[in-house]
Amino acid sequence: MFRKLPDPACATVAVTVDGQAMRVATHETAASAALLAAMGATRTSPVNGEPRAPFCMMGVCYDCLMVIDGVPSRQACLVPVRDGMRIERQAGARALAFGSAETADV
């Protein structure tokens, strides 16, 4: 879908996208890294399982919700990459981790 314009001076970090190791520019977001990995669907709809992927890239549509470093339902387009970041496809509704206040949405 997308390719990077050559930018040799650009510093990179190591991330994994659905288990696939890759180096991406330090200024990528988890969503742009997922687009570069050409993984297609980045989540499935919790309502009917339909495949979805980033749509607006500006924090509005919530279609880029992914599991990032183990935390579900992060807006991938708003999360800057970090060295060692794990970016994973999210399947349906994220699980509620009882006992962990971090993952319970209101």
């Binding site: 890239m57 500006m58 924090g59 708003l78 962990s100």
Partner: protein, 463 residues
């Protein structure tokens, strides 16, 4: 614990940055809270580093101007808190924002909502397939990541942005398979009466003509269509469009949609500010006076979230609102405010006369906001236009009832992607105007928030 500021600005686009800089120059304490990691908003996204990056030449001079806006802000001494999502704004001017782990509160004597515009929803068959995105999304990837489309890319829609984006992609060495122009042919006629006013903005008109010329020379095939569909198994593989009554089908890996931009009104609606329907721009916007004041004293608005006027006008609006705030807080007298406002109002007159022409020329095609039954209106909850119509048949009188019946607008985006469509469908089905039908009632929190974070806020602040 909340930090107190004279002016808490939400949004680091041209309006917010200019307002904060102006406020700081007048001696007000100001902070800009923004959800992106870098200043500039969407229009000047990543401008501090992108003007040196591989796409710099392709992005052009209008984009590079953003660097001055950001530099003036950086020099001004106003505080800057990036990476924070605002989830609540109180009518008192208090602003609550989250970094994803914990929340912080800013007590503003005035709160300025400068959250810009969003792309108008484009509900067509197949628009939820991976590989279908906004043209704005494509341009964000160009600005912030130096990314250009690869494979069979089709651009669909109407307005200046698709033309600008295609020209930028060609200049950057990318390729576009084709452009499907959905601007209704009759719009040219309707816009003609506004042309003489638009001539006062000759530089804008010239830019538009240059873009069209560049597009013709680029050799990108152009089609005019009144219906478009995306199709594919698990991702977009084909685009179908109806041109001159005949359907055409082309292979497609990336489909970029755009039907103009609309004010991002969720913040002002959640606060409870009065809004009105803008007939010419087909959107809701907050009711504002000439200093950007809403009907709630502590809440101010500047830039495209108060009505679409473009980036340069947003900058002037931001400065005007800062002047108004300084005067209402007693830091400058009214005569000083009015004297300082004069060049800004002149600046606005340089940018606004073309708007009626642009709004009419690129007015969205009829039926865009009331699509066929099978089309998904609400992406979050996968609710179709037909399901919304069914709620009307069983008695729903407005968007809020439709929402409680079938959850449209109740997902994580909270109606940002379907609000205008749901209003449009109900207006069409009941024979009322969008103004009469109204919009979803927007409730806090403005962004999803963890319970843990909410609880921690109570512990920290003792409230």
């Amino acid at each position: 614990m909340s930090e107190t500021f004279d002016l808490v600005v939400i949004g680091a686009g041209p309006a917010g940055l200019a307002a904060a800089a102006q406020a700081a120059e007048l001696g007000l304490s100001a902070v800009v809270v923004d959800e992106q990691p870098e200043p500039g908003g969407q229009i000047y996204r990543a401008v501090e580093r992108a003007t040196k990056g591989p796409a710099a030449a392709a992005l052009g001079a209008d984009y590079a101007h953003g660097r001055q806006v950001v530099e003036a802000f950086r020099r001004s001494g106003a505080a800057y808190r990036p990476g924070l999502q605002v989830w609540q704004v109180e009518p008192s001017g208090e602003v609550l924002a989250s970094d994803g782990q914990r929340s912080v509160a800013f007590a503003g004597r005035r709160a300025l909502v400068a959250v810009g515009a969003t792309e108008r929803p484009v509900p067509i068959p197949g628009w939820t397939l991976p590989g279908v995105m906004g043209v704005g999304a494509g341009q964000i990837l160009l600005k912030s990541s130096g990314m250009v489309p690869a494979g069979e890319t089709w651009v669909v829609g109407s307005g200046p942005l698709p033309l600008l984006y295609m020209q930028q992609i060609i200049a950057a060495g990318g390729r576009i398979a084709g452009y499907i122009d959905t601007t209704p042919a009759a719009n040219g006629f309707l816009a003609a009466p506004h042309l003489s006013a638009a001539l006062r903005n000759l530089p804008y008109l010239r830019k538009g003509l240059k873009l069209r010329g560049a597009l013709r020379r680029s050799g990108i095939p152009g089609h005019r269509a009144d219906a478009v569909e995306a199709a594919g198994d698990g991702r977009v593989e084909r685009v179908r469009f109806r041109s001159g009554g005949t359907w055409h089908e082309k292979p497609c890996d990336l489909l970029l949609l755009h039907e103009g931009v609309v004010p991002n009104v969720h913040v002002t609606m959640a606060i409870g500010c009065a809004h009105e329907w803008d007939e010419r721009q087909e959107c809701f916007r907050p009711r504002l006076d000439e200093w950007g004041c809403t009907d709630i004293a502590a809440i101010l608005v500047a830039g495209d979230c108060g009505g679409i006027e473009g980036a340069r006008a947003a900058e002037a609006r931001g400065r005007l609102v800062a002047l108004g705030a300084a005067a209402s807080l007693g830091r400058i007298d009214d005569a000083t405010r009015d004297r300082m406002a004069r060049p800004l109002r002149r600046e606005l007159r340089r940018h606004l006369p073309i708007r009626p022409f642009l709004d009419t020329l690129f007015r969205p095609r009829r039926g865009l906001t009331a699509p066929a039954d099978a089309v998904i209106a609400c992406r979050c909850e996968s609710v179709t236009a037909g399901q919304v119509r069914e709620t009307v048949r069983i008695g729903a009188v407005g968007p809020n009832q439709a929402k409680s019946f079938i959850r449209c607008g109740m997902g994580p985006c909270q109606g940002r992607m379907c609000g205008l469509t749901v209003t449009g469908i109900i207006a069409e089905a009941t024979g009322r105007t969008p103004a009469e039908v109204g919009f979803f009632r927007i409730r806090p929190p403005l962004k999803p928030l963890t319970l843990g974070e909410l609880a921690a806020l109570g512990e920290d602040s003792g409230t």
